[in-house]
């Protein structure tokens, strides 16, 4: 039996993260019965987004221009580079307005289980940037997980091998703002003690 456009639509929706075939069918049905007009708008928006959004060839960020607004901005401190795993992490840091340097998106973290090796990460571009740009400090903003820290150790080695003069730091691990000591786990308390600083 040949598949209808509706079946194709359900299949496309079910490929999205967080959606299974049932929810995909529900969304497709809702669009067809109650929001048919908005389907054309959605299709047009999807096309525009696909056409206009670009991956920055320098840092790996998403923007409408290549290179992205952050890399092109003269207000940014180009001597400080923050290495992050994903674009979502970049947006999280940008929300805080606390960092004025530039970024480099790796595109994931090393993981044996997920089959992510150094070849799958955006490391060759990082090496090229270190050769071409005058970077004085690198901040490793990778997650406090075994995979995140394995990646941090790997990247640190990679940088130190050729660029010994670059200062490398990582984000602090420890007490969250609003966290009560009594409710924190042992590992967090211990790393907070290790990372304590004088006041």
């Amino acid at each position: 039996m040949s598949k209808t456009p509706f079946d194709h639509l359900v299949k496309q929706f079910s490929l999205l993260p967080g959606l299974g075939p049932r929810s995909a069918k529900r969304i497709a049905l809702h669009m067809l019965t109650k929001g048919r007009g908005s389907m054309i708008d959605l299709a047009q928006t999807l096309r525009n987004t696909a056409d206009q959004m670009k991956i920055c060839s320098k840092c790996g960020n998403l923007d409408m221009i290549d290179v992205c607004a952050i890399c092109a901005s003269p207000k940014r401190d180009t001597k400080t580079l923050c290495i992050i795993a994903n674009i979502g992490d970049l947006w999280a840091i940008e929300r805080t307005h606390s960092y004025q340097g530039v970024y480099h998106v790796l595109g994931g973290v090393l993981s044996v289980i997920d089959g992510v090796t150094p070849d799958n990460l955006n490391l060759s571009d990082l090496e090229m940037r270190l050769e071409d740009e005058e970077i004085e400090e690198i901040i490793l903003a990778l997650s406090a997980t075994v995979d995140g820290q394995t990646t941090a150790h790997y990247v640190t080695d990679l940088i130190h091998r050729r660029h010994n003069q670059i200062n490398i730091s990582r984000l602090a691990h420890g007490m969250p703002v609003g966290g009560e000591l009594d409710y924190l786990d042992d590992g967090t308390i211990m790393t907070a003690f290790k990372s304590r600083r004088a006041i």
Partner: protein, 245 residues
């Protein structure tokens, strides 16, 4: 309904679907035991499911043969205490992958479980220098080999020499050999680290590298000889990282 509770060390977490995972725990009374974890990617469960963590597991299934489901609580977050140091992290990954890939499932190894727990405690709470925990790691690998049926004899000389001057170990038999008895074959024998000799010795970096080379050879030749993938990559990486320093 089958049900048991026990403490266990997280060895392997395999993501399943979008929100769940299959977890391999190394428990005292059940050995290596897998189970399904619902909501493994939730903010509350994600920190638990890091390799090396000690968890309190409540496993239940309709029948014993099933994969079953785990309910978990954190006992000790070893991973967080170890992950900042590169060498310790490499050792943790080697340890968990060796256990996960060499032990049979659902077979208790209480001695090895307690040895593993002791090693994790040393690594988590001790100093970062390899001299503080490297010898304990080598001894743990010897314990793993013993548990798998490949015991090393480090108490006497296989060549009839003195037990007080042991210097080598035979890669064929796993028996120690004295300096004098091993002299003609020293190119074929493995050097015995000083801290494994009957009268002890320094636990410095050089001796630890010797120890890792020795246990690595036996893991490859004995324990993982029949495995298609051979010795886990994490164990090879650990040797390289230690040798580089």
């Amino acid at each position: 309904m089958e049900n048991w509770t026990d403490q266990g060390i997280v060895l392997h977490v395999l993501p399943h679907g979008e929100g769940a995972a299959v977890l391999k725990l190394f428990t005292e009374t059940r050995g290596l035991h897998a189970g399904y974890v619902h909501g493994a990617h939730s903010a509350s469960k994600r920190p638990l499911l890091e390799i090396g963590n000690l968890l309190h597991g409540d496993w239940h299934a309709k029948i014993d043969d099933q994969l079953g489901t785990y309910k978990l609580e954190l006992e000790q977050q070893f991973a967080a205490m170890i992950m900042e140091d590169r060498q310790k992290m490499a050792a943790l990954k080697a340890l968990t992958s060796l256990l996960s890939e060499s032990l049979p499932e659902r077979e208790a190894h209480p001695d090895l479980y307690h040895t593993t727990l002791a090693l994790l405690t040393i690594m988590a709470f001790g100093a970062d220098e390899i001299a503080a925990w490297g010898a304990a790691y080598v001894k743990w690998e010897i314990a793993l080999l013993r548990e798998l049926g490949f015991s090393l004899d480090l108490t006497r000389c296989a060549g009839g020499g003195s037990a007080q001057e042991l210097g080598y170990i035979s890669p064929k038999t796993g028996c120690a050999v004295s300096y004098s008895a091993g002299e003609p074959y020293k190119d074929k024998l493995l050097p015995l680290p000083a801290f494994l000799k009957p009268n002890g010795g320094p636990e410095d970096e050089e001796e630890i590298v010797k120890g890792l080379h020795m246990t690595g050879a036996f893991l490859e030749k004995w324990a993982f000889a029949q495995h298609t993938k051979g010795v886990p990559e994490a164990r090879r990486d650990f040797s390289i990282i230690i040798s580089q320093n």
